[in-house]
């Protein structure tokens, strides 16, 4: 394998989709299965061009259902795998994302969000899949979703997504959006040795002593892949620690609680956010992805006007940083939450705001917030502690 083509160390001018593909390859991804969809196609195209250079496999599947199934299969074959899509494809992947959760399969799903529902706005931005990323597949399971806000972060978080997926053995979702995916910026790719790489735990016991779905202290079981000699059964049915199907409330209680708890237990180390000027802030803007770009500008401009406002930028939307929002809520007048949907993370903020004012600034998709819109809301909130806006924004004539 050509090591020098694995990590393209240096400065590049890339869009978010391309940067994401480079991050994946740098992280060790060697299998990509996907289906063309705007605005995620550039991820596939980059993978199709780049994977052969490093001895990897690119396959264009017949749909997104197959793409998701294929990356699970490849992961059980011991290869780091990824797919990329947008809203309609993300919806199609949901059942097999659940299979990935149940089978505890490391892999990465990139969702470059566009305006929905349905075909919606194929070429324009949206952030309407945040709750789908959390709850989209049926049943309970823990979720990790990352929200990059620049092409550089697309590169960095693609790497982190692989490392988290390998560590916690779940499909990790990178929840980007059309604006970040198509935005061109400088991306600095570090040297190969500076790229952190984590690989799944391997069994250390003999086959007859190995229980493939028994969590260790960290609740994560080591993973025996195909051909490792453990001859395990892996099923989407509720199973016991041996991996054998058990259709009972007891088995369900143990398995599903562990699937949720393995993420809850480690939420502290998974959660990532960036704070700007929050120390003395009266108002906190909570934003992620494309909305964070406008929010950053609005917070900077407001500060220049002497308004005490800070930005809490979510790098992981799931798990949600409940504790931090609760701490901030103690000393602020309220929260402003701009997002390109009709309120998704805003509900999470309100839940943790301890009764403090929460203003959801929704855009239905197709455009990002003008920083001035956010500035005005910040100003009102800072002055009166109240947000100007109607109940759920429904205007009646």
């Amino acid at each position: 394998m050509k090591k020098d083509r694995e990590v393209l160390t240096g400065e590049h001018f890339l869009n978010g989709d391309e940067a994401c593909a480079e991050g994946a390859i740098a992280a060790g991804c060697r299998f990509f299965a996907g289906y063309p969809i705007t605005p995620a196609t550039e991820v596939s195209e980059t993978m199709a061009r780049r994977l052969p250079e490093v001895g990897g496999v690119y396959i264009q599947m017949e749909d997104e259902i197959a793409s998701m199934a294929a990356i699970l299969g490849a992961s059980w074959g011991g290869v780091k795998s990824m797919t990329a899509t947008s809203g309609p494809g993300f919806s199609l992947m949901m059942e097999n994302i659940g299979l990935g959760m149940m089978m505890e399969t490391p892999c990465v799903v990139i969702n470059i969000m566009r305006g929905g529902p349905s075909t919606g706005l194929p070429t324009l931005v949206g952030q309407g899949d945040v709750m789908q990323a959390r709850w989209g597949s049926h049943g309970d399971y823990g979720v990790i979703a990352l929200t990059p806000a620049s092409p550089q972060e697309m590169f960095d978080l693609a790497i982190r997504a692989f490392n988290l997926s390998e560590k916690y053995r779940i499909p990790v979702i990178v929840l980007s959006d059309e604006m970040i995916g198509h935005m061109y910026e400088k991306v600095v790719i570090p040297e190969r040795r500076a790229v952190p790489r984590i690989s799944r735990k391997k069994p250390r016991t003999a086959a007859d002593e190995f229980y493939p779905f028994q969590g260790e202290k960290d609740l994560i079981p080591p993973m025996a892949c195909a051909g490792d000699g453990y001859r395990i059964h892996v099923t989407g049915l509720t199973h016991d620690e041996q991996g054998y199907p058990v259709i009972s409330a007891d088995a369900q209680e143990r398995l599903v609680r562990r699937l949720c708890d393995k993420i809850r237990l480690h939420a502290g180390e998974i959660i990532d956010f960036r704070e700007t000027a929050t120390k003395d802030a009266d108002v906190i803007v909570v934003a992620y992805g494309c909305s964070a770009r406008s929010a950053e500008e609005a917070v900077g401009l407001s500060r220049r006007e002497g308004i005490r406002v800070g930005l809490l930028r979510l790098v992981t939307v799931w798990p949600f940083p409940e504790e931090r929002v609760r701490q901030l809520a103690e000393r602020v007048k309220g929260f402003v939450v701009p997002e390109v949907n009709y309120g998704q993370i805003a509900y999470e903020v309100e839940r943790c705001a301890g009764g403090k004012e929460t203003l959801m600034m929704g855009l239905m998709g197709g455009a990002v917030h003008n920083p001035e819109m956010i500035m005005n809301a910040i100003k009102e909130m800072a002055e009166s502690g109240k947000a100007a806006g109607g109940e759920r924004g429904v205007k009646r004539s």
Binding site: E62, G73, G77, N96, Q214, R231, H233, V234
Partner: protein, 300 residues
């Protein structure tokens, strides 16, 4: 928010181990069966046991090392085959065994990857994946146990249900045209296509052996009795009665054009090896067309 959850019963490894080792190893085929998984869930008279045994016999006579083989299943009665085999087995979502197996194969090129599933799983919900995997010539062995109905859910009509047959969802007789699976497989690009019934156990073993020794997308349809789901409403009798029907109504027509091998309700059952040809696989093509340009190879 505070939580109140029930106390969890912890997993007792020693107990589980004792249970799985109980009476395991008494039968010569036990080395191919996962300890503690028998008895199986299949009904009396079901043909799945015959197909499973034929698969084991083929593996055994070919001396296929167990750890070079993995079995992927979808959902349904046949979907449960994976769970009984003592190898790396994957029981996936409904209809998605083939794309899962595709990923597994491409990650493990030297492995034998076998897909075991039913007619509903492979040809209704999973039909698209079947034709595309065959088109790409992914190196998979696909064994479809065709019992002409959805057995697991209690006998509903499916994509292979005969015209006029009764099922719980065709109480007045089936009014849809069924697929001719061997024709579909051939038209989609499969390099090996055969059909047998569970009566033809020895031919089936030979077909599985042929598939183990052959690269590319291989398809074996096995017509199987489902006395509970399909036999009862159609007055076909017990599993044994259906085997007698297979004996009486089957004709072996090797190399016949699969187009002419359509199945009629209660009519002649044409069986045989219809297609056996050589064609570079997906990975052969990927290596030659793409990887070789970068001096790369993954077949090892």
């Amino acid at each position: 928010m505070r939580y109140k959850l029930v106390d969890q019963k912890s997993f007792r490894a020693a107990e589980a181990k004792a249970k799985i080792n109980q009476s395991h190893g008494l039968h010569p085929d036990d080395r191919y069966l996962k300890p503690g998984r028998i008895p199986h869930i299949w009904c009396q008279g079901c043909g799945l046991g015959i197909v499973l045994t034929a698969f084991i016999k083929a593996m055994d006579s070919m001396d296929i090392p167990i750890d070079t083989c993995a079995v992927v299943s979808g959902i349904g009665c046949t979907g449960r085959v994976a769970g009984y085999l003592n190898m790396d087995t994957y029981h996936t979502t409904h209809g998605r065994a083939i794309p899962f197996a595709t990923g597994l194969k491409l990650a493990k090129p030297s492995h034998h990857i076998v897909v075991f599933s039913g007619d509903g799983d492979l040809f209704a919900i999973g039909g698209n994946h079947f034709i595309h995997a065959a088109r790409r010539n992914i190196d998979l062995m696909v064994i479809c146990v065709n019992n002409f109905n959805y057995g697991m859910t209690g006998g509903q009509a499916g994509p292979t249900t005969h015209m006029s047959a009764r099922t719980t969802t065709t109480p007045y007789g089936n009014y849809e045209y069924p697929f001719n699976l061997v024709d579909l497989a051939h038209a989609s690009g499969a390099v090996y296509v055969a059909r047998w019934t569970t009566y033809h156990a020895r031919y089936l073993i030979e077909s599985v052996k042929r598939c183990f020794g052959k690269k590319g997308f291989k398809f074996i349809e096995v017509i199987s009795p489902c006395p509970t789901g399909y036999g009862r409403p159609n007055r076909l009798g017990t599993g044994l009665d259906e085997m007698k029907i297979y004996r009486e109504k089957s004709v072996i027509r090797n190399h016949m054009n699969p187009r002419e091998a359509a199945l009629d309700f209660k009519g002649t059952i044409v069986v045989g090896e219809f297609v056996d040809l050589e064609k570079p696989t997906f990975l052969d093509r990927y290596e030659d067309e793409v990887l070789s340009k970068f001096g790369e190879s993954i077949k090892g």
